[in-house]
Assembly symmetry: C2
Homo-oligomer: 412 residues x 2
């Protein structure tokens, strides 16, 4: 008999009917003899409803009061789920973050968990009760309610699993696992049975927004087996297990790459012939960052003559116009450089711990793209990832052909 | 400079606009230099919305989970009001019942306050902050959230005022005070400047549902000056002050009566000629009570021959048919008695500490009713109250003529 921490997100508890379904699912685990701790988000839409009320009152409300307000969302769902468990004859107790002893620092709206007191949870589990915990929230050492930031319920679940030494932390979502590529554009995408934390981190930050990055990091750090599964009744499968990566797992049997992520709506700005002097990158990116524009990829090359440099970066398409004009100002100030811009770009990334020991990934990738007449506009690499920027219109073609080339297609 | 505890009910915080109005009102007190602790209910309708969600899941949910659920209502309003105070430039901090240290017993849904830890409130007040406290809720000694029952926010306010030794506890409502009679049926009704706790208790239980009875009792017990005022902008007046009654206040100058309460939708059932033996009253009322029917007035007279008794009681009109049939069964069982019933009755009550020292109240009351051809069907008295049951159609006539007869009419 195992101990599971099961997390259900806002869509999974978005209505009374769905809450009853969650209770049934948890009940099945309980009836099999497993101990279950459930972590819940607020009903979908509730947090936004509360934020809208706050905004009508104060444009920049006190972060403490904001946390006081939005933490009510999860408190509602935990009480309702505990009732639904009892309706099924399964004893259950709900706890707010404060009650369960999730102590955080004082950073309202984006607090970090410092410690968890598992005493009451453990004694409830021993007494045969299902424990239902409010995700996303905690309490600082003075008793003020804090929240962990959007998606923080995943972190609550992983942290509880670590503190309770649970056998598995199961994150129920609206997808049934992590795929080798986005199934919406690549019909041959496969569900991965297993993926390493490192790979998951690269995939998550690239747009496969299944799990909160912090939760994945946490799982890696505390060696919590983390599983992503579907919360939909008609899609019960084993999901994808995210394992803490270790050297042993990086064996010759590992596939070259685990998955292909893509991200559209990118824009690219290039400054040709900028003076090749120290601090030029900071000079160009400083105003961009001051304007709160997030920069993704950055590539710099020394020009052939060694006196000037070509500098490129990508931003979200929505920030393109603003970023372009900031760069124009900068170039005017420097008195050198020519600007090229394109706001219809996409990023396609190959991710896999297997590529650590295989030099040939990049060349197979470039060859495949070339065979399909897809121009590469920018390249960036990390130890387990290669990202290329291409014209947006080629996104689907690139993902599908790379998927085949790297042997990821599912066998029919 | 005084310390005020101000309580605003669900209607007063029923929308963002109304919350802003409350913030303005509290702000005015603060700017005059007073310390203010605000106690809030949930936005009107919110508690019922949450209860409806619970009912969809479980007909009789666990009382603990119900309190977990509905206590979120006040948590939302306190955060929003604290934001609205800050929007006005007035520092404010909100506290849940648990945070402010309102410790109760373990009777979920109807908990009683055991103690209040005022440390954080006092230090916030000293620092010049407005303190906003969630009404209606507390926490038991094990940290479980409890609620005080419907209307419990009044009790929270009075208890906080007592613990903080506040100069006044102000309950803002949708009426501007306590009246000598219901102004809707008696146009000459006067707002009372002052009323004793004892009188208020009799008036409240008779249908002038302005304040929760427990809160009034609490105010009497702890000698908290309690004021009822209007929360509406266009109706700012001094309201009515409810004072702990003491012998001194019961002086010759006291008016004979303070107010007239009335209650329609009453039904009366009489058993004539019941056997005059011990336990007959219990025999008749036992089944009524078992059926959860609330009995209000009970009157019993020995019959002239001393062998049988006439026994009358009143119930709400909605319970009349059920009660009548239960009495029929009982009479059949006893083999004696005749039943009379009437389901169109009203109760009119005179209340006043002044009547303690004046024997003439009853005779003036009966004479006035007789002059207006109003038959008295039942009489019941307490030290500071006389209630009569009359035909419902005479209710308004009775209230108006008694109001004039006892000198309560406002001078034009």
């Amino acid at each position: 008999m195992a101990l599971y921490v099961q997390k259900f997100g806002g869509t999974s508890v978005g209505s009374v009917e769905r809450i009853k379904k969650v209770a049934e699912r948890v009940g099945r685990f309980r009836k099999e003899g497993h101990d279950v701790v459930v972590v819940l988000s607020a009903m979908s839409g509730e947090t936004n409803r509360l934020l809208a009320l706050a905004e009508e009152i104060h444009k920049t409300p006190s972060p403490r009061e904001l946390d006081m307000l939005i933490s009510t969302g999860e408190q509602v769902t935990i009480a309702l789920l505990a009732m639904a468990m009892e309706q099924q004859g399964i004893p259950a107790t709900s706890y707010t973050g404060a009650q369960v002893g999730i102590v955080t620092d004082k950073s309202y709206n984006k607090a970090r968990i410092k410690k968890i007191d598992t005493e009451s949870v453990s004694s409830d589990l021993k007494a045969g009760r299902v424990v239902v915990v409010a995700g996303f929230q905690g309490v600082d050492e003075e008793g003020n309610i804090t929240t962990l930031g959007r998606g923080g319920s995943d972190t609550t679940a992983v942290a509880l699993a670590a503190a309770l030494k649970a056998d598995e932390c199961q994150i129920y979502t609206d997808v049934d696992g992590v795929y080798t590529a986005d199934p919406r554009i690549c019909s041959k995408a496969n569900r991965l049975e297993k993926i390493t934390v490192e790979e998951m981190l690269e995939l998550a930050s690239l747009g496969s927004k299944i799990l909160q990055i912090r939760a994945v990091e946490f799982a890696g750090k505390y060696q919590v087996p983390l599983r992503v599964l579907s919360s939909f009744e008609d899609n019960e499968g084993p999901g994808t297990l995210i394992v803490a990566d270790s050297e042993e797992q990086n064996s010759m049997e590992d596939p070259l790459i685990s998955g292909i992520a893509h991200h559209t709506n990118e824009a690219k700005i290039t400054i040709l012939g900028a003076p090749d002097i120290p601090g030029v990158a900071a000079k160009i990116l400083g105003p961009i960052s001051d304007a709160n524009i997030e920069v993704d990829m950055i590539v710099q090359n020394v020009s052939p003559n060694g006196e000037s440099t070509d500098f490129s970066f990508t931003v979200g398409r929505g920030d393109y116009t603003k970023a372009y004009s900031l760069v124009e100002e900068c170039v005017a100030e420097m008195g050198a450089g020519r600007i090229l811009g394109d706001n219809a770009m996409a990023k396609v990334s190959l991710v896999g711990v297997g590529m650590r020991s295989h030099a040939g990934v990049a060349s197979l990738m470039f060859k495949t793209l070339a065979e399909n007449s897809i121009n590469i506009r920018m390249v960036s690499t990390s130890e387990i990832k290669i990202s290329v920027v291409i014209d947006e219109k080629f996104t689907e073609l690139a993902v599908r052909t790379l998927h085949s080339a790297f042997g990821l297609d599912k066998s029919e």
